[in-house]
């Protein structure tokens, strides 16, 4: 599932950028008002870097959509057949997970005093890193573009798709991003991490509480 990063235990001093860097793994999200840099490595997952243009604060997440086509109820499928115009309707089950990944990050920024209407986005990832991830990367890219359009959040920069993983460095305070394409992959750590994360998404938990 998606959870906030424990920044204290997942940060290091980055000599090259002369900043404290907070590491994000799949499912993580982090927002800050300070000088920190947020770093993550993406295969077919997506990272959205949100910037609050008035307060000069921001944050980043790292997520992907679950494969849940067959988990849809029949009743829902009928409605979706009639509404093919948007991704939200085509696979609303996956869209609800994507929505939550975004909402968790947006809520962190709102808690820091930010406003939804001041947000802009930079999006990265969604690569077809392995043969099996071709659809996954593309699905994630399509979803996030539609989500941001629907939420009226402007995309100011993007580096998505392709066949390589990426390392993304984001400094929220100045809305600056540095992306490094990873051309030589020596092992399948990135893929394994993302697959493990995706599996946790479809585990059903008890999430209804009568008070």
């Amino acid at each position: 599932m998606n959870s906030p990063v424990d920044a204290e235990n997942n940060s290091y001093w980055d000599n090259r950028f002369s900043r404290t860097a907070v590491k994000l793994l799949p499912g993580g999200f982090f927002a800050c008002a300070g000088e920190e840099m947020i770093v993550t490595v993406l295969g077919s997952c997506i990272s959205v870097c949100l910037f609050e243009t008035q307060l000069k604060i921001g944050g980043m997440n790292h997520f992907m959509l679950p494969e849940t086509k067959n988990a849809l109820s029949n009743q829902f499928k009928d409605v979706e057949k009639e509404n093919k115009q948007s991704y939200v309707y085509q696979d609303s089950n996956a869209a609800r997970y994507g929505n939550v990944a975004m909402e968790l990050l947006i809520n962190e920024i709102i808690k820091l005093g930010g406003h939804r209407k001041n947000l802009t986005a930079k999006i990265f990832g969604g690569g077809s890193v392995t043969r099996s991830s071709i659809d996954i990367g593309e699905k994630n890219i399509n979803y996030i573009k539609e989500y941001l359009a629907l939420e009226n959040i402007t995309i100011t920069k993007q580096d998505v798709g392709g066949t390589h993983p990426r390392k993304v460095y984001f400094v929220p305070k100045i809305n600056d991003v540095y992306v490094k394409a990873i051309r030589n992959i020596h092992n399948n750590t990135i893929e394994q991490r993302e697959t493990r994360y995706q599996k946790t998404l479809i585990q059903s938990a008890n999430n209804v509480f009568y008070l």
């Binding site: 109820s73 869209a95 909402e103 709102i110 939804r116 629907l150 009226n152 999430n207 209804v208 009568y210």
Partner: protein, 121 residues
């Protein structure tokens, strides 16, 4: 007559997703973008059920709920909180404010429909 539900959430995509899910089951859904707008709509008209997010700009869901319970129009309308907040402390705040059910996102439409049926039929 169709039963009426007021849904309050600051996310446009979430409003769209939920509206689709519960309209399909025959409920009449009205939406509001934040707590302030939700409260204004709850003061105008009586609903059979209110479903609300917690973290929203202008007025959050808990504050809105308290204001609704303090008013007349929807004082006795059952309220479901639908949120990413999963902590017990938040749930207790919701309970104290008068919420009946706490649903943690992501939810399945069927789960939510079971809750709605239980509360208002």
């Amino acid at each position: 007559m169709a039963k009426t539900i007021l849904f309050v959430d600051d996310s446009a995509s979430m409003r769209q997703i939920l509206k689709m899910a519960i309209s399909a089951a025959g409920y009449e859904v009205t939406t509001a973008d934040d707590g302030k707008q939700g409260l204004a709509k709850a003061e105008e008209q009586r609903y059979n059920l209110i479903i609300s997010d917690v973290n929203m700009p202008n007025m959050n869901g808990i504050e809105m709920l308290k204001a609704i319970k303090a008013g007349r129009t929807n004082k006795f309308t059952p309220v479901v909180m639908l949120t990413t907040e999963a902590g017990d402390e938040m749930k207790q705040q919701g309970k104290a404010a008068g919420a009946k059910v706490w649903v943690v996102k992501p939810f399945k439409p069927d789960q939510l429909l079971v809750v709605i049926k239980k509360l208002i039929g």
